[in-house]
Point group: C2
Chain length 214, copies 2
Amino acid sequence: MSRVRVHNFAISLDGFGTGDGQSLDAPFGHAGDRLHRWFFETQTFHARQGKTGGSAGVDDAVARRWNVDIGAEIMGRNKFGHQRGPWEDHEWTGWWGPNPPFHTPVFVLTHYPRPTLEMEGGTTFHFIDATPEEALRQAREAAGDLDVHIGGGPSTVRQFLAADLIDHLHVVIVPIILGRGERLWDGLEGLEERFQIESVTTPSGVTHMTFTRP
Amino acid sequence: MSRVRVHNFAISLDGFGTGDGQSLDAPFGHAGDRLHRWFFETQTFHARQGKTGGSAGVDDAVARRWNVDIGAEIMGRNKFGHQRGPWEDHEWTGWWGPNPPFHTPVFVLTHYPRPTLEMEGGTTFHFIDATPEEALRQAREAAGDLDVHIGGGPSTVRQFLAADLIDHLHVVIVPIILGRGERLWDGLEGLEERFQIESVTTPSGVTHMTFTRP
């Protein structure tokens, strides 16, 4: 069966996967770009921006796995946009412009469904009001033999971990103290018992951790 | 001036420096010994128990700095014992037996002062009701030219960090999710701006982080 994977999920030392106060100008709230600077330096990110250059060391080697053999993505509504409650701005099509980097079906979890959005490059946003299990069923059907990527944010990853639906979790610990925002680990006591865990610190100063099934 | 140092301070991935439910049988509550297994394997710990053997790699090299050039220690009351409120059991002289491993004056922060305890091997416990600044003044006077060690627990280290009194912080991140207990990082947003930070993961699976003054 296809696996369920999380990649490049950055958290602060105090466990926040996003800062406080998300807005149109600040997708990660007061965290700004601090959780992702390590990623911006990589060849993987440069290529995604249509640029050359970038680092090709361990940060890049780990980062570039995020879309390999992925056939569908599931994300929380707050990863898709900053609106809360009923959709008011129907022109909003995500943070990523006309050609999002997913190139697969993307299932956006929301209590307020809206029509499917077909974007350039093969990305299709489906808006569904579903449990993690049901969302995964739909994503697996769309993914065929490929894996399903859980794209975040923190509460979405946390719900899938709590439901024991994740097979591969890659977390990046960034040495900053955010103090406020949304925590990844809440309610997951004993999570380590379900996984084999490896950690490595790279010269950029972040620590990559992989949680895989034993 | 002498420096103020924290060593071998272990926290879970979700930031807890001690578990929930401290008792006579469980100094670290439901965390048990899980935060300190990496330390028990080291030559430093073996030697402290009067034994030979133990690992002599990076875990040990880092661990053994805890009492080098230290002239006094400050600890919170919960590190000294499990009693709360007025002292009822005056026979209690700490978790460490008749010859504690400190061999210096130790200032125990408590709202309930009690007579000084002279132990074997040069450890003297002084019980003081003082602010971090005042406790540090007394500890520095006792330490002479040597450094002052802040021994924990989490709320004591946090208070000294909040007051910007710590020059060297060594934290050990253990890949477990405790879920409850006492957190180290609360209220310390932006702490990283005051320090140079280095991280390294060792084969035991823990990640050592040092925070030093730039």
